[in-house]
């Protein structure tokens, strides 16, 4: 099994410009069922290169092409509306890849989509997710991994690829790899993904990769201690060297000056270790710890 996406996932892509087309083609080549694209003015045409219909609205993609998942690739100013449209259209999962969405927009979206429930929102500012051998939605490079038993969840893209790659070189595959995104307000949190991994019979171990800023890693850590003490879990927090008050690339990766604490990598590591979770100091160590845990059986 896997979580969130599999062979039955049918994707509609909102935003069929050059980026959207490039990545949708890759997803399709991997075997993902990309069933439609949407564009306000190109409804009724065929999406060149993918050979699937273009609809004016997500609603049509749902009713006419059976889409159950939307990948949002529209520019940041239009992302809020695109997510809300997908929500209204009745898809099960919305994967927002777009970077640079205003935080007030996402706060409103969160209220509607996440707090009201019923629809899974991943992102924004995320690389998407892959269930190797089944489906790949987003921008994760698919050929660096293969099907396996480790569930991987991360706020970062390339850092995740690095760990996935090191695991692959040690012969360890992935059940699902989920990039939750680097923004301050995101739909799916660490805890949601880890909860899903815990319920997935084919995920036997979990690796999670956090960053400085916020407190979601700690929340997930407490849950792991209380609910799944027997599942091997390895963590890594990026940004031990990040100075206070400086944003490190990702909008959410910032240790607040004079904040209430718990936002730095060292503090997060300490809190997580207090919950009995092994926390690596760098990505290679994270992969090594996971390999060791799995070899112990």
């Amino acid at each position: 099994m896997s979580i969130f996406i599999d062979e039955s996932t049918k994707v509609v892509v909102q935003g069929i410009g050059s980026q959207g087309t490039f990545h949708a083609k890759r997803n399709q080549a991997y075997g993902t069922q990309v069933v439609a694209g949407t564009h306000p003015k190109k409804g009724g045409t065929t999406w060149e290169g993918l050979d699937v219909p273009v609809f004016t609205s997500v609603k049509e993609a749902v009713t006419e092409a059976g889409a159950n998942t939307s990948m949002v690739m529209v520019p940041a100013p239009f992302t809020k509306d695109a997510i809300l449209e997908a929500y209204e259209a009745g898809v099960e999962t919305i994967i927002a890849i777009t970077e640079g969405v205003p935080v007030h927009d996402m706060t409103e979206v969160y209220d509607t989509v996440v707090r009201r429930g019923g629809v899974r929102l991943l992102g924004p500012n995320c690389p998407g997710l892959i269930s190797p051998g089944k489906s790949n939605v987003g921008i994760i490079p698919a050929d660096i991994t293969f099907p396996g038993k480790v569930g991987l969840v991360s706020r970062s893209g390339t850092l995740t690829y690095q760990i996935m790659h090191e695991l692959a070189q040690a012969g360890i595959g992935i059940s699902t790899c989920v990039g939750i995104g680097g923004d301050p307000v995101i739909g799916t949190q660490f805890l949601d993904v880890i909860d899903a991994f815990a319920a997935d019979p084919d995920t036997e171990a979990i690796a999670f990769v956090g960053e400085i800023g916020g407190a979601e890693e700690q929340k997930a850590g407490a849950w792991i201690r209380d609910n799944i003490p027997d599942i091997p879990v390895v963590g890594y927090i990026a940004g031990f060297e990040a100075p206070e008050g400086k944003q490190m690339g990702h909008a959410g990766a910032i240790v607040k000056e004079g904040g209430e604490g718990g936002e730095s990598a060292a503090e997060k590591k300490e809190i997580l270790e207090g919950y009995g979770i092994s926390v690596a100091m760098n990505p290679s160590e994270a992969a090594r710890l996971m390999i060791e845990r799995l070899q112990q059986g």
Partner: protein
Amino acid sequence: MDLVEFQGKQLFGRNGVPVPPPGTACRTVDEVVAAAEKHIGDGATAVMVKAQVKTGGRGLAGGVKYAPSVDAAREHAEAILGLDIKGHIVNVVYIEPASDIAEEYYLSVMHDRVNKGHLIICSREGGVEIEEVNRTNPEAVVKRTLLPAESLNGLNLGTARGIVAEAKFPADIVDETAELLVKLFAAYRDEDATLAEINPLIKTEQGQVIALDAKVTLDDNAAFRHDGFSEWKIEGIDADDPLEAEAKAKGIQYVKLDGSVGVLGNGAGLVMATLDVVAQSGGRAANFLDVGGGASADAMAESLGLVLKDPSVKSVFINIFGGITRGEEVANGILEAIKRLGDFPQKLVVRLDGTNAEEGRRILEDAASDSVVAAATMQEAAATAVELASQA
């Protein structure tokens, strides 16, 4: 983007939040003298001379002074202009008609990351650090999280009144303060701020409630829907570091740090991890730089050029994970960048992994550039880069 005080007050003023009479931003002592003459001539009993820097603790550092005369204003300006406040050099001072302070309070609205809403903080104790009040006298600090659904039409006046009353503001100013809070909340939402803080909020001797200070952070991601957003940038205040300014203009994610190993990688998380590994190898990174997804020759040349401009950079660690961009493209990008940049003394320790990494490494090896030192792993690359930096 963080605004300095006088900009924050402009933003408050245009949204109806009461602020002191407008003052004058000055860069020289002569400008300060002229401004003080004008404001005192217009009837101000005194002026305040206030350092405009993007950091807290200005008062303690001697950056805020009361001047009852033009001469006093001159003296203070001479002391404050050029002052170093926590690494921020004062290039601009704000001359403002002084207000008669009867009492000081605290009021703020900020984005609440944990609860995905808006956080209002209100305290009867102002003029000191709110974190300190929260530690020593938590009952004096009222915190209220507001979800977007509760505030679609702004902050309700009744809710505002409740918050202010709970903070035990004097009865005669509860209404006035509640109205101010409603306007502060509207300013925060309408201007796409993530922080709008007033510390202190004061009651004047005449009983008016006004924002004596203003700390505002605006969301850069929302710049597209605010005309004049770029005009908030002020020379001499925003140029914390000239290389950071140059990077921003080029759209490169760059943060200046204080070490000697230049760092360049693709992806924010991977670059953060790179800084960690450099430190774990006994060195210090000179910067954070994310070249982004593509790592094309253009992006590589621009980014590498920027890193090498920093005189403290003694070696460079290029850390690339080939994902969609394949190893051979990345390798060619690096070689092209070296060609374009011409001669430079620093060695580039290159660690390439991921898709087609072997092919990429072979290309670098075949090119036999004197500038490139290949490394197989992140750890090895970090150790090499740190060693090269310490020898240089």
